[in-house]
């Protein structure tokens, strides 16, 4: 059944591989915790929610395989000042959370997965000031994607300056040029109009940044594996920037349409004003939620399908789970592009709406 495409099989197997590793770790955890009991060889009940959340959520270390993970710096700002230490200090050799005693005592909360300050009794002190600006897995991915996107496009830009405009594009340049032109001709131009050039760098940056991070998220192992573009903080910052860009560039006509819609009766104007004003905020919020939900849902779906194997406790379940997961993976590849496209398209549309010149107001 998986012979249809060796590639999709490979992708599915890789996804399964990642999960298998983590389950093995879990199984061992279970083994360790039950050592004291008589059922030493029995494994803990497989918790599908916990497994999936573990993969979708952020973490302080970057898990590679088995017990191997990359330690990342934990950076905390507390009452007692800045504190920087390795994430490996927060876990023991079995990947269990342990307390680390620095200027305060820190421990990762099992529920939220975040560092907390412990008080003298060993319980969480929620009142203590704690700014967590650690280089987590997501932040590391973010920095990696920043490097990647800069390297790729600077090399493409160099290709243009070196090879000139008279020769045909080659290699990476020829792959990316149609996409750049797509963003320009099919996203910016029709939605923004003649002033599109001003917004091109912004639109191209968000498009490629989102797309690259969507794709990095689809790689099931290092250097991917982080669900960055499916993280609400990531989409929130992008949506906030879009909100600022749209409203900074909005013109008088746009605000007139918001607060005093021309061409409709006065009661309707009064009725529409709060709705339109709400729309100003809902637009970026919808951008934030759409990207976050789509990417996270894709990840959860693939993981859930793979988890079927462990839920049924049968390798035979892979016969169904792996092709399905591979199929979803292919869709996710499409969604990765689609969501980047939709985000950019809607941004362009909002900019276009806010900057549109209303010459024919009387014609309404």
């Amino acid at each position: 059944m998986a012979f249809k495409g060796i590639k999709s099989l490979l992708v599915g197997v890789l996804a399964g591989f990642l999960l298998l590793n983590s389950s093995a770790v879990k199984a061992q955890h279970g083994g360790e915790t039950t050592t004291d009991t008589t059922k030493a060889h029995n494994v803990e009940e497989f918790n599908i929610t916990e497994t999936i959340m573990d993969h979708v959520k952020d973490s302080y270390g970057w898990h590679l395989w088995g017990h191997t993970s990359v330690s990342l710096p934990v950076i905390l700002y507390t009452d007692k000042g800045l504190e920087v230490f390795s994430s490996s200090k927060l876990i023991n050799e079995h990947h269990e959370a342990v307390a680390y005693a620095g200027k305060n005592t820190y421990k990762v909360n099992k529920e939220s997965g975040k560092v907390q300050i412990l008080n003298a009794h060993g319980t969480a002190n929620h009142k203590a000031k704690l700014f967590d600006i650690s280089i987590t897995k997501n932040v590391a991915t973010l920095l990696l994607s920043m490097l990647l996107v800069c390297v790729v496009f600077l090399s493409v830009a160099r290709a243009y300056t070196k090879r000139g405009v008279t020769s045909a594009p080659k290699g990476l340049q020829s792959f990316l040029e149609p996409i750049i032109l797509f963003v320009r001709d099919d996203i910016a131009k029709p939605n923004i109009g003649p002033k599109y050039t001003k917004y091109m760098p912004f639109l191209l940056s968000i498009f490629f940044f989102i797309w690259l991070n969507n794709l990095l998220g689809l790689i099931p192992f290092f250097p991917g594996g982080a669900n960055l573009s499916g993280n609400i903080a990531f989409t929130m910052v992008l949506a906030l920037i879009v909100f600022v860009v749209v409203n900074v560039n909005s013109n008088k006509a746009f605000w007139k349409h918001v607060f005093w819609m021309p061409g409709v009766p006065v009661p309707m104007k009064i009725f529409l004003a709060p709705i339109e004003l709400l729309g100003v905020f809902i637009k970026p919020i919808s951008l934030m939620i759409r990207l976050f939900a789509n990417i996270t849902a894709g990840h959860i779906l693939v993981l859930a399908l793979i988890c079927l194997i462990f839920v049924f406790k049968a390798v035979a379940a892979a016969a169904v789970a792996v092709p399905f997961a591979a199929f979803i993976y292919c869709i996710e590849l499409l969604v990765a592009f689609l969501q980047a496209f939709i985000f950019t398209m809607l941004t362009a549309l909002y900019i276009g709406m806010a900057t549109e010149e209303h010459h024919h107001e009387e014609a309404h």
Binding site: M53, V56, K57, D58, I75, E111, S112, G113, K114, F131, D132, I133, S134, I135, T136, N138, V139, L142, L143, M146, V149, C150, F153, L154, V156, A157, Y160, T161, V165, T166, E177, I180, L181, R184, T197, M200, P201, F202, L204, S205, F208, F209, N231, I232, A233, F234, M236, V237, L238, I241, F292, T296
Partner: protein, 169 residues
């Protein structure tokens, strides 16, 4: 609160800070060093292509115009050649006619001259003959006169006879 329900929908302050920083770095670096040269190059290339196409159309139109001009020129040249040939023929004909006329006039003149000369010669000959006849008459008259001295009647007869002979001449 709703945000407490699921850690997935709870934005992480650290990530927000890093994301804001990173995105602005990306935006700045790419806008300055990537998008600007790329978009400029693409625009330049598009302009070049557009120019090349319009140039080609222009050249094509020019070529068509040139061809038309050539054809017109050729037609004109052909017409000119025909006119020239015709003119040459006319000149030739005229020359021949003129020559013929001239020759005819010359010939006529020669004939007229010849006739005049002949007339003159004839008149001269007649005058000469007349003179000789006169002389002869005188001589005869002399002889007659010498002989007639003897016979008057015969003399008159003879004169009459002579006079009649002369008239007959």
């Amino acid at each position: 609160m709703f945000l407490e329900l699921n850690p997935l929908v709870k934005p992480d302050l650290g990530l927000v800070i890093w994301m804001t920083l990173t995105f602005f770095i990306v935006l700045f670096v790419l806008a300055k060093y990537a998008w600007k040269p790329i978009l400029k190059a693409v625009k330049t290339r598009e302009d070049n292509i557009e120019n090349a196409i319009s140039q080609a159309a222009k050249v094509q139109a020019e070529m068509a115009q040139l061809k038309n001009d050539n054809e017109a020129l050729l037609t004109k040249a052909r017409e000119e050649r025909a006119t020239m040939l015709k003119e040459a023929k006319d000149i030739k004909d005229k020359m021949i006619t003129d020559a013929k006329d001239l020759a005819k006039a010359e010939a006529n003149k020669i004939i007229v001259d010849a006739q005049a000369a002949i007339n003159y010669q004839k008149m001269a000959a007649l005058t000469d003959i007349k003179n000789q006849v006169g002389n002869l008459v005188i001589e005869v008259s002399e002889k007659v006169l010498r002989k007639e001295l003897s016979n008057k009647a015969e003399q008159e007869n003879f004169i009459k006879q002579l006079a009649g002979e002369v008239k007959l001449n």
